[in-house]
């Protein structure tokens, strides 16, 4: 049992002309039992701010993030919207760097990269890879580092549809192998329904959770037809979130 409780009372920032803008207010969510949760919300609603808070990049907020039973001491790994690989390190080195030197398990990394179809690019520099490949490396890096929660910030945006579909399948594959809590931010409802155990709909900024929906389809049932059927039902039964679809 590893329950991550996120309770953000307020996150604000001050603009250049000294106005205080509240980005997030009273946003609560929980992740437990290695589930995959998708966060859906309009653009500019503070989704990235939320991930930055959880990852510890942003400490300027009120509220708390706790892992039970161990307390505030949790680890996260992050797959950013852009791949953010170090251009002067090879694919392999980029992943090795995420853990302490003594704990590097190159066989495991190689295996991971193999599953992602990157076995021939171990020693390539990121610049020589396509964006899709760089994204897969970034995904591998996020998975290689063991963590209590894996954060993904629209990692497949601007990939062509077949590549994105493949990447999603790989994500589910890796996640089944190395179970952990995943928080996946997207604005693409199809993608969310395809991937998630649960969907969290977030309001415009200052954002909070409007609605929480469990996706009651097994992963094998999530065909395009079933997904659109699910979305239709969702829309009819939940008018409060219709504007987000």
């Amino acid at each position: 049992m590893n329950k991550l409780s996120i309770d953000i009372k307020n996150k604000a920032f001050v603009t250049a002309d000294n106005k205080v803008v509240n980005v997030i207010t009273n946003l609560k969510l929980e992740l437990s039992n290695n589930e995959l949760v998708c966060i859906i919300g309009p653009s500019g609603c503070g989704k990235t701010s939320l991930l930055n808070i959880i990852s510890g990049l942003d400490t300027d907020f009120t509220g708390s993030i706790k892992l039970s039973p161990s307390g505030t001491d949790y680890t996260s790994s992050y797959v950013f919207q852009n791949p953010r690989l170090l251009p002067w390190r090879t694919v392999l080195e980029n992943i090795q760097l995420t853990v302490d030197k003594d704990n590097v398990d190159t066989t495991k990394i190689t295996h991971l990269l193999q599953r992602l179809g990157l076995e021939n690019s171990l020693h390539s520099y990121p610049q020589h890879l396509s964006l899709g490949m760089q994204r897969r490396v970034s995904l591998a890096r996020g998975f290689y580092k063991e963590s209590d929660v894996l954060l993904l910030d629209e990692p497949f945006v601007s990939l062509d549809p077949p590549t994105a579909r493949k990447a999603r399948e790989l994500l589910i594959d890796l996640w089944k192998q190395q179970a952990r809590n995943i928080l996946f931010v997207t604005h693409d409802l199809d993608e969310a329904v395809k991937l998630a155990d649960r969907l969290l709909f977030i309001s415009k900024s200052p954002s909070h959770v409007i609605s929480e929906i469990t996706v009651n389809l097994t992963r094998d049932e999530r065909t395009p037809a079933n997904i659109s059927q699910f979305k239709r039902l969702l829309k009819n039964n939940n008018p409060e979130i219709a504007h987000l679809m």
């Binding site: 992050y78 953010r84 760097l97 610049q127």
Partner: protein
């Protein structure tokens, strides 16, 4: 055609250097004056200085001073420049210091160092470092301001820690700036070391050239200058260019 072209590009520096020497020779012959000795005379004097071991001795001392002050200035300058580039408040506070240091004439700092610390080695080294330091700071500060925040955040999100972030994320980005300040710095330090030696040391290239000046021994001055040029070329080819290549290998 291609091979001819590439042979020409290889020959270019050789040709241009030969042209320079020929011009020098022609001028020396035409003018026939004691203030412009011919290249052959200079070569003779160079060989004589090498045989007596005097040149190696003084060149060695100058190179040691150069190396010590160069590394001190680079190390301190990189650390301070990085700090000022990353922390806006520190920069706002110390900016005027940097500008003052940058603009004090080299001669003033050298003389002050000798007056305050005496005519000792430490004063000489310190004077050179003080002259070079602000240039390194300014260049590295510029680099530190242009660091890619996305990569810094990535390092934070993966808990890289300070040392790993510095080695793998920050320094590779500062590398071009470090190389630029190393190159301009080397040129500057050469010039300042000689003045420092001239003013307050009893050995080194600067001291020797001062001596030759008093003896009006122009041939020796030029012989020392030639040895100088050779050393600079060697540093460029043996140290700087390979470093450049190594840092560019991922591009």
């Amino acid at each position: 055609m291609m091979s001819l072209m590439s042979r020409f590009t290889f020959l270019n520096p050789v040709l241009s250097l030969s042209l320079l020497i020929i011009t020098w020779q022609v001028l020396a012959v035409v003018l026939d004056t004691v203030v412009l000795p011919s290249p052959l005379l200079v070569l003779d004097s160079l060989i004589a200085a090498l045989q007596s071991g005097e040149l190696q001795h003084h060149l060695g001392i100058t190179l040691t001073r150069l190396a010590i002050s160069f590394f001190l200035a680079m190390l301190l300058g990189t650390a301070i420049g990085l700090m000022l580039g990353r922390y806006k408040k520190a920069n706002a506070f110390f900016d005027s210091w940097v500008i003052i240091l940058l603009n004090i004439p080299a001669l003033v700092t050298i003389i002050l160092c000798y007056i305050w610390f005496g005519l000792v080695e430490t004063a000489a080294i310190f004077a050179v470092v003080i002259n070079k330091l602000p240039n390194v700071i300014v260049t590295i500060r510029e680099g530190a301001r242009n660091l890619d925040e996305d990569l810094i955040d990535m390092a934070k999100a993966f808990q890289f820690g300070r040392v790993k972030t510095l080695l793998h994320v920050v320094l590779p980005q500062l590398y071009p700036y470090i190389m630029a300040s190393a190159r301009t710095g080397l040129a500057l330090i050469w010039k300042i070391v000689l003045v420092v030696e001239l003013l307050g040391r009893s050995d080194g290239m600067g001291y020797q050239i001062h001596l030759f000046f008093q003896l009006f021994d122009i041939t020796s001055i030029m012989a020392y200058t030639v040895s100088f040029i050779v050393i600079i070329q060697l540093i460029e080819i043996i140290i700087l260019q390979p470093l450049d290549k190594k840092s560019q290998r991922w591009k």
